[in-house]
Amino acid sequence: MKAYQLDKTNIAQEVFGNEAVLINIPLGKYYSVRGTTGIRVLELLQEPTNLENIWTGIQNEFQTDEPNAKAEIEAFVNQLAEEQIITEEPYTTFAISEEASIKLPYEKVELEIFDDMQELIMLDPIHDVESFKGWPQKKD
C-alpha cells in the first residue's frame, strides 16, 4: 500500500480552531479543511503513513459508525495526493494511535479548493525556463 506525507517544502499550513488552511505555493491554490476529523487526518500525514493506518487512527479516535466515513477518508487522501499536497513516500513501519476511551463525533471530511488566485501565477510566468537562455536585446 502506498505511503504518503505532507509536502512540507511546498505546502504551508495553519490551523486555527476548527479549520485548517493549506497553501500550495507552486500551484497557486489554497485549501480549507473544516472539522476536527479532517484536521486529524492532516496531522497524521505530518509523518509518512498509509491509508490503512490513517483509517485505523481515525477509527480509534472518532465515532466512525457513519456509513460513508471510510470512503470519505479515502477520497480525501486521494484528493490531497491529486492536488500534490501530499507526496508518495517509501514504505516504512508506522506508529498507530491507541483506541481512545472517549471517541469524538465524526465530522464530514472535505477539501475545499480555492483556485481564484492562480491567475497571479499565470500572469507573470517565470516558468518558461527555456526562454532564460540568452538576453534578447544583446548589443554587439
Binding site: 504551508a12 495553519e14 480555492f114 497571479l120 501565477i121 517565470i126 538576453w135 548589443k139
Partner: protein
C-alpha cells in the same frame, strides 16, 4: 564581473529611506530614472546617516551591459521563482517576461537590477518600482513585503487586505484627503518585530468602474491615455499636500467586505480569514516560499484582525477608521 564603465553610463543617483534603511539608487542608461522611481519620491532623502544599500539599475538596451553570460546559461533554474539554484549565499533571479535579472550581494550590500528596456516595463512594475528588489533584500530579515493597503494617523494605523473585488481599493480611495494618511494601496513593508508598517509606493490605483465614485480623482490620473487598458495611477504625494505617512505602528488588520448596507461598521474576524486574505496573494505575486508564509502567519497571529463592513455611503469609512485607530 561588474567592471563596466560605471561613470560613463551613470545618469542619476537617488537616495531613499525605506524601512529604516538607506538605499542609494544608481541608474545607468538613457531611461528616465525620475519617471521610473516616481512612486518612491515621497521616501527620497538628501543624505544618509548610515551605510546605504546600493541598487544599480542597468538598462541593457541603451548601455549594452547584460548579466554575465554564465548566469544567462545557468543549468538549474527554479521555474516558480526564477532563482538560479545552487548559487551560494547570494541571490540571482530571472524574469523571462520583462526580461529582467536581479543579483543581490547581501554581504557587500550591492544589488544589480538589469532590465532590457525600462520604458517597456508593465504598469504593475512602474506603479511599484523595485518591488522584487525590495522583496529579495528584506527576505532574509524578519521584515516582509505584503499585499495590503496602509492607512494611518498620528503614527498609528491599520492594514487593509483582501482579494480583488473585496472593497480594499474602494475603502482606501475613500480615505484620501481626509484625516487619515496614506501609506500605500497595494504593497507595503511590515516589520513584525517592531510592529511597524512602512510605506513603499505613493501611487493609488483606480479601476475604470471606480471613476464614478471618485470623480475628483479623474483629473489627477497620470496615465489617462492608457485607460482602460491599465488602471489609473494617482500620485498621492503630488496631488494631496501632507497626505502621506511613511511609517506607523500597526493597530489591526482589517478585511474590507462590501455589504450593500447603508452604514459601515467594524466587527471581529478570525485569524484564518486574515491569513486567506493576506497570505496567498502576497506569496504568489512575489514568488515567495513557505518561510515567507511563516513570517506572515506569525504577524497575523499577534495582530488583532477585523472585518471592515463597508456600506454604500463611502463617506463613513474614513471617520469610522479614524475613530477605530484612536480607540484601539
Amino acid at each position: 564581473m561588474f567592471d563596466f564603465e560605471k561613470q560613463h553610463f551613470l545618469s542619476s543617483v537617488n537616495l531613499y529611506s525605506i524601512g529604516g534603511q538607506f538605499f542609494e539608487v544608481l541608474s545607468y542608461g538613457e531611461f528616465s530614472s525620475e519617471k521610473y522611481l516616481r512612486a518612491l519620491a515621497h521616501l527620497s532623502c538628501k543624505s544618509v546617516s548610515q551605510e546605504s544599500v546600493k541598487i544599480h539599475l542597468i538598462e541593457s538596451k541603451s548601455t549594452g551591459i547584460i548579466p554575465p553570460e554564465e548566469w544567462l546559461n545557468w543549468p538549474d533554474i527554479d521555474s516558480y521563482s526564477g532563482d538560479l539554484l545552487n548559487f551560494g549565499n547570494n541571490r540571482a533571479v530571472f524574469n523571462s517576461t520583462e526580461p529582467s535579472f536581479i543579483f543581490v550581494d547581501y554581504s557587500s550590500k550591492n544589488i544589480y537590477y538589469w532590465v532590457d528596456d525600462f520604458c517597456r516595463l508593465p504598469p504593475n512594475e512602474t506603479a511599484a518600482p523595485l518591488r522584487m528588489v525590495f522583496h529579495l533584500w528584506f527576505e532574509p530579515t524578519a521584515s516582509f513585503l505584503c499585499h495590503a493597503a496602509g492607512l494611518g494617523i498620528s503614527e498609528e494605523g491599520v492594514l487593509l487586505t483582501g482579494k480583488s473585488g473585496s472593497g480594499k481599493s474602494t475603502s482606501t480611495l475613500s480615505c484620501l484627503n481626509t484625516k487619515l494618511k496614506y501609506a500605500g494601496d497595494d504593497f507595503i513593508l511590515v516589520d513584525p518585530e517592531q510592529n511597524l508598517v512602512y510605506s513603499l509606493y505613493s501611487v493609488a490605483k483606480l479601476n475604470i468602474e471606480q471613476f464614478d465614485n471618485f470623480t475628483h480623482l479623474k483629473p489627477l490620473i497620470s496615465n489617462i491615455e492608457q485607460i482602460p487598458r491599465e488602471k489609473g495611477h494617482v500620485y498621492i504625494n503630488e496631488s494631496f499636500t501632507d497626505s502621506m505617512i511613511t511609517q506607523f505602528s500597526i493597530k489591526a488588520i482589517l478585511l474590507p467586505t462590501i455589504t450593500g448596507l447603508e452604514d459601515t461598521f467594524i466587527q471581529e474576524c478570525s485569524k484564518l480569514d486574515a491569513i486567506k486574505a493576506l497570505v496567498p496573494s502576497s506569496v504568489w505575486i512575489l514568488r515567495s516560499n513557505t518561510k515567507a508564509v511563516e513570517k506572515m502567519k506569525l504577524f497575523i497571529s499577534k495582530t488583532p484582525t477585523f472585518r471592515l463592513m463597508a456600506g454604500v455611503n463611502l463617506n463613513q469609512i474614513a471617520p469610522i477608521l479614524t475613530a477605530f485607530i484612536n480607540e484601539n
